[in-house]
Amino acid sequence: MAIAQLQVPADRLTAWAGYDGLVQLISVDGQRTVGCPYWDLVADVDALQLRDLYRDMAIVRRIDAEAMALQRQGELALWAPLLGQEAAQVGSARALRPDDFAFTSYREHGVAYCRGVDPVAMLRMWRGNGLSGWDPAAYNIATPAIIVGSQALHATGYALGITLDDAHSAALAYFGDGATSEGDISEALGFASSFGVPVVFFCQNNQWAISEPVRLQSHATIAQRGQGYGIPSVQVDGNDVLAVLAATRLALARAYAGQGPTLIEAVTYRMGPHTTSDDPTRYRSHAEEEEWRAKDPLVRLRALLHNEGLADDEFEQEVAAAAGDTATALRLGVLDLPNPASDALFEHVYAGAHPLLDAERDAYLAYLAESDEVS
């Protein structure tokens, strides 16, 4: 269900100068905007593809809802919901080619989905069955980074590798608004700028870092932050899947063409709690939540589809069925995940031999066997 790749013409790249306004292609009530100089970048997105994007977003939302339910039922230890960020995640991830590589934090389930990761594999970590769930090289997406900001440097290093390989692909680094305060994000921007490597910094400014509003992190926009490093930076409506797709495509095209890093600030909203352990009523108002509910990215795309006669009941039923099937498979798959064997504790610490660890493992397994005999 990959969105076909648009070839961005070379003159379009050199015309890049950072766009001052907020890139928005679909208005809140589902109308195409006029005048925004990003339309050419999604000119190829036809009805079928719009419906694909909607289906992706609906399925991703359903995966998220199912995971929330599983957590509430005690089947997951924790979950970080993406509710409200579907357009930002699907729009950006669908701009990627297979040989691009995504680096994410813990909330980008929608990105993992678009990269082809099985949702059951995504939930494995949250169930506590492992520290991750998939092979990064198989899908070209790293497993989630929990240390806020750390992954932006990994993306920059990976992009340096792309440059050294003389390859034409890109690394995409996802991080949040809160993460922009961490030194690692700044160092990533600095290294990327200095080396001129093909990395796209994709910040989902969802207004909150747990209980901290984005204005606590900085008084300037995140796009301005990028410009301070000489990195072309743009603010997009992160609840508008087409705007996100367009901006990401342009940024990737710059990367492929050897023009270095770009920063995209996708302005969106975390409609749910930070994680299932969080209680947002302690720090934000119902009114604010309502204000953003009106900008729901799925509702907006659905409105566009309806306004343009691209979606009917049949389509909606098809999507609902697909989402339902995914959720059912996810639930079954998660409940079926095998518990790790006790000796898994000692596996994969080192590639080479390690006498100390071997001795510890042998002693512990012997102890376990002995205790089993006793009990």
């Binding site: 929990i146 809160g178 790790p340 006790s342 510890e360």
Partner: protein, 343 residues
């Protein structure tokens, strides 16, 4: 920064009674008292204001003392600790909250090269009364980086004091002592014990038990088990089972990890002749090594068997479903006790 008029809580007039509270609440009460006692005390951290911290240890404090005393910082640990250094130079006593153990590493440089060394570098002319609170340890089924036990890194860093309470009363007393100390203190909070209750006398004098003193929690005759923080309860559990099985364990709660009160510990070992050290951190290079090495050196001719160590393995902290294998429990402690007793 908005100016709130702080609504001081009046503890001075309250009667000196003992009440039962969780370890987390005891910390909250201790912090409150520190804020009350000294206008130079400020709390800093991520989400410590309206949210009250992810463990609610600072709950209600911003409301009562205002956002100039209880400060939400941008999301950056080096920034938080480096800023605390500057506040200390201006005469403040900052108390930083690191949200989880695994997030202390971005601040490692400011802690090791600045907080720890500032007084020495300046030959005593600058004090660094910074307290850094770190919820630590496993056992809560968390995702990666939320169950680390990094105490050995800090104990090996000269210039720092490192302490950890194991119960509510100590939590209340030790957090106030740490804040009152003119030295920097890394204050490790046993997060899985936040909800365990104990009796706290909020008006107990601070100096009845110095910060660096270890405490014999249960007396015993056959063997000493030394633990700290979350492992004290586990060791007490082992002592209980041991007692039923006819083995008498003396449990020592170390409380201070740097410096270590070897006086108390060695007195116990001289009595029992045997020692098991317990911590959650990996055994290799952990604090247990220092304890074993020094006690052996000092009590060589009193020891009837070599000191044994129980702790985590030479692996990163594992996934939640494996942590029960990683974490010492009463059985593993008793297993090592047995090996000491029947060598």
């Amino acid at each position: 920064m908005a100016v709130d008029t702080p609504a001081h809580t009046d503890t001075a007039t309250a009667a000196a009674t003992t009440s039962t509270m969780t370890l987390g609440k005891a910390l909250n009460a201790g912090l409150r008292q520190a804020l009350d006692d000294d206008p130079k005390v400020v709390l800093m951290g991520e989400d410590i204001g309206k949210l009250g911290g992810v463990f609610r240890v600072t709950e209600g404090l911003q409301e009562d003392f205002g956002d100039r005393r209880v400060i939400d910082t941008p999301l950056a640990e080096s920034g938080m600790v480096g800023t605390a250094v500057g506040l200390a130079m201006r005469g403040y006593r900052p108390v930083c909250e690191i949200q989880f153990d695994g997030f202390v590493y971005p601040a490692f440089d400011q802690i090791v090269s600045q907080v720890a060394k500032f007084r020495y570098r300046n030959e005593g002319r600058v004090a660094m009364p910074v307290t850094i609170r770190v919820p630590y340890g496993g056992g809560i089924g968390a995702v990666e980086h939320h169950s680390e036990s990094p105490e050995a890194y800090f104990a090996h860093t000269a210039g720092l004091r490192v302490v950890t309470p194991s119960n509510a009363a100590d939590a209340h007393r030790m957090i106030r002592q740490s804040i009152a100390s003119d030295d920097p203190v890394i204050f490790f909070e046993p997060k899985r014990r936040y909800w365990e209750k104990g009796d706290v006398d909020e008006h107990a004098p601070l100096d009845d038990m110095p910060l660096h003193r270890a405490r014999v929690v249960t007396e015993g005759t056959d063997i000493t088990v030394v633990a700290y923080g979350p492992m004290v309860a586990t060791s007490l559990e082992a002592a209980g089972i041991g007692a039923e099985e006819g083995v008498s364990l003396e449990v020592v709660d170390l409380r201070s990890l740097s410096p270590i009160d070897f006086e108390t510990l060695e007195a116990s070992v001289r009595k029992t002749g045997r020692l098991v050290v317990v911590h959650e951190a990996p055994v290799f290079g952990g604090l247990g090594a220092e304890i074993a090495a020094r006690v052996t050196e000092q009590c060589f001719y009193s020891l009837e068997s070599p000191v044994r160590r129980v702790g985590g393995f030479a692996t990163p902290y594992p996934a939640a479903k494996l942590e029960r294998h990683f974490l010492p429990d009463a059985d593993r402690i008793l297993h090592e006790v047995d090996r000491c007793l029947q060598p």
